[in-house]
């Protein structure tokens, strides 16, 4: 059974216009093995800087335009029974850190994907690869947060698009499953356009790992056609990714456009 609770501390966003991002509570808060009963508040987890960065974007958007409706709407979601039972602690921790979470979704492993759909979540982020995969299967744009997200900047949201090796034959039509990533990218792109080239609280980064300049060019064009203007681009042509990613420090990675690889 899923319980959805509005966070009354936070002004609710316009559901039609906001970019709804769901993050698992396990990613945001670190739950210790022995829950000390006296401890009301969790320690911060991997996704904490990410949440701060999302918040920063919202602050800056409202600075530009106090009536702005294209904002991030953050949903904190539990994905297992254990967390589901910690609801009050999750809520109090959120309040303690002053996190701009619009809603809480207390679901378990069986029904969390359903609640993502019910809540019209456009982006689902979790440190758990399986969870990200399950959500993705249901048609929700998902990304796994790795532990390096913990050391990402909190003043700028850095979104990485990977533009590798995804080519479709022209004869096959675009599947319906492309709609979600397309619309998310378009909204993100629109959000990025609210800011100038310098000092933006959100930066869009493109990396092509395997391909050379042609792949990168194609990816740039594809993103542009989705309404996404790229800030930084790195074309690796087979050079090791690890060192580059530690320099780029993205909060999360998404794919550019097409996901099916037809032989």
């Amino acid at each position: 059974m899923v319980a959805t609770v509005e966070n009354t501390d936070v002004k609710q966003k316009d559901a039609d216009r906001a970019l709804i991002v769901a993050v698992t509570s396990r990613s945001v808060f670190e739950s210790g093995a022995d829950d000390d009963g006296d401890e009301e508040v969790y320690k911060v987890g991997t996704a904490f800087p990410l949440l701060q960065a999302l918040q920063r974007v919202n602050e800056r958007l409202l600075e530009e335009n106090p009536a702005e409706s294209l904002l991030f709407d953050v949903v904190l979601i539990t994905t297992d029974r254990q967390q589901q039972q910690q609801s009050s602690r999750i809520i109090s921790s959120t309040r303690h850190y002053g996190l701009e979470v619009g809603r809480f979704c207390f679901s378990s492993e069986e029904d969390f994907t359903e609640s993502l759909l019910t809540n019209n979540v456009q982006l689902f982020l979790s440190t758990d690869a399986m969870e990200a995969s399950q959500a993705s299967q249901k048609g929700v744009v998902s990304a796994q947060l790795d532990q390096h997200a913990a050391s990402c900047p909190s003043e700028q949201l850095r979104v990485l698009f990977c533009g590798d090796a995804v080519v479709r034959l022209s004869s096959s039509p675009a599947p319906a499953s492309q709609q979600a990533p397309q619309s998310f990218s378009a909204q993100l792109g629109e959000m990025r356009q609210r800011f100038g080239l310098f000092d933006s609280p959100v930066s869009v980064v493109l990396v092509t790992s395997r391909g050379g300049r042609e792949s990168c060019g194609t990816a740039l064009r594809t993103l542009r056609s989705h309404g996404v203007s790229v800030d930084e681009a790195y074309c690796l042509a087979g050079a090791p990714r690890g060192p580059m990613l530690s320099l780029i420090r993205p909060h999360f990675l998404l794919s550019v456009g097409f996901s099916d690889l037809k032989e």
Binding site: Q137, S142, A174, C216, E232, P240, S246, D260
Partner: protein, 376 residues
């Protein structure tokens, strides 16, 4: 620390490793992104060789402004600001830039690579060129179009959108960094990366398309600036005395020593295949030291490092311009702007290595008087 691939993305619906499901029959019409599709032909004619691993290659990182001529755009940026600059770049996206000062040098590197691949088809000891630019990725397509137009073999780039390139230079194990920005060049030198500032030149004489020629100044470029300090502090006579007395003591190394070493390693690959006479790499030392006296220490130092240089030209203080004009190197490295300018005036592509004691002297007039008969 490395991030493993299993973490990268899941996109709605389809898992990349499984075969695309055939249940996707789209009911919607053609979406706008359809125009961006690429059709994969079964027999693709372009069989580009794979770029080498950065740790195996000799990596040259070059900024967009020195590879290409972006003077007009630079003016727009300086006088009208970033937004107009980007707008202009995007509007002219299909117009390729013309060649910049580093262009012929980069082309010559590719000629050497072709020869190396013929002799050693499986080796990764090749030149690898990385475009390292501060530019915003919006300019990316114009840069890619330009690279295509000039048929350059550049498959790697970093468009940092304003962030520092230093980390990326290191990640690519960069052997030489060329940029129009002296601040970045100094930063690179500070991190132990060979680097030099390049300038737009009105005159660029024709250079060989088959043989890469690289010319180096001696003091504060290949060697440290220790002798130059002595000259500046105590004058010419003291300098000669000192150099003679220390003839057999190798000078300390300078910022470009490593790059000369890398060139030597490639040269040896040609020698090993009996191609010494026809070697497509040639190196030159062009120094104000004189053969009779202070030059000996320079040569002995090179020998102690196990480095060969093809031609050593001791000018004993004479201007370097005319000599360089005869040699026609693709690139000439010097730590003194006086010499860089002198070379450029006569059509040699010259770049500045902002290293050592000579950088303290800022007025051109002072440098002229002091250095016109100065050994280096």
């Amino acid at each position: 620390m490395s991030l493993n691939n299993s973490q990268t993305l899941t996109v709605s619906g389809q898992d990349l490793t499984r075969n695309g499901s055939s249940t996707n029959s789209s009911s919607s019409g053609r979406a706008p992104w359809d125009n961006a599709r690429v059709v994969l032909k079964p027999s693709t004619p372009t069989r580009k060789p794979k770029p080498p691993k950065p740790e195996n290659a000799i990596t040259i990182a070059v900024s967009s402004r020195v590879l290409f001529n972006m003077e007009k755009e630079q003016q727009i940026y300086e006088h009208q600001g970033m937004e107009d600059y980007i707008k202009h770049q995007v509007e002219h996206e299909t117009e390729p830039f013309s060649a910049g000062p580093a262009f012929s040098f980069i082309k010559a590197l590719e000629a050497v690579n072709t020869r190396l691949r013929e002799l050693y088809p499986d080796s990764e000891e090749l030149f690898d060129v990385v475009l390292m630019t501060n530019n915003h990725a919006n300019v990316g397509l114009r840069l890619i179009n330009t690279i295509n137009h000039h048929r350059l073999f550049i498959e790697r780039f970093c468009m940092t959108g304003g962030n520092s390139p230093i980390g990326y230079l290191k990640a690519y194990h960069t052997n030489l960094y060329l940029s129009a920005d002296p601040v970045k060049v100094r930063e690179a030198l500070g991190e132990g990366i060979a680097a030099a500032t390049m300038f737009t030149q009105e005159k660029m004489k024709e250079v060989s398309e088959t043989q890469l020629r690289v010319a180096f100044d001696g003091d504060a470029v290949l060697f440290s600036d220790e002798s130059e300090r002595i000259y500046k502090a105590h004058g010419l006579d003291k300098f000669f005395e000192h150099e003679k007395a220390h003839e057999n003591k190798p000078l300390d190394h300078g910022p470009l020593k490593g790059f000369l070493e890398a060139l030597g390693k490639l040269q040896k690959k040609f020698y090993d295949k009996g191609q010494r006479m026809d070697c497509p790499i040639r190196t030159y030392l062009v120094t104000a030291r004189s053969a009779a006296s202070s030059g000996t220490r320079a040569l002995k130092t090179l020998r102690s490092w196990g480095l060969e240089i093809d031609e050593a030209l001791f000018l004993a203080g004479a201007p370097k311009g005319p000599m360089l004009e005869k040699i026609r190197p693709h690139i000439f490295f010097d730590d003194q702007m006086f010499h860089v300018e002198g070379a450029a005036e006569m059509g040699t592509v010259a770049c500045h290595v902002p290293y050592g004691i000579a950088q303290r002297v800022t007025k051109k007039g002072t440098m002229n008087e002091e250095t016109s008969s100065a050994p280096k």
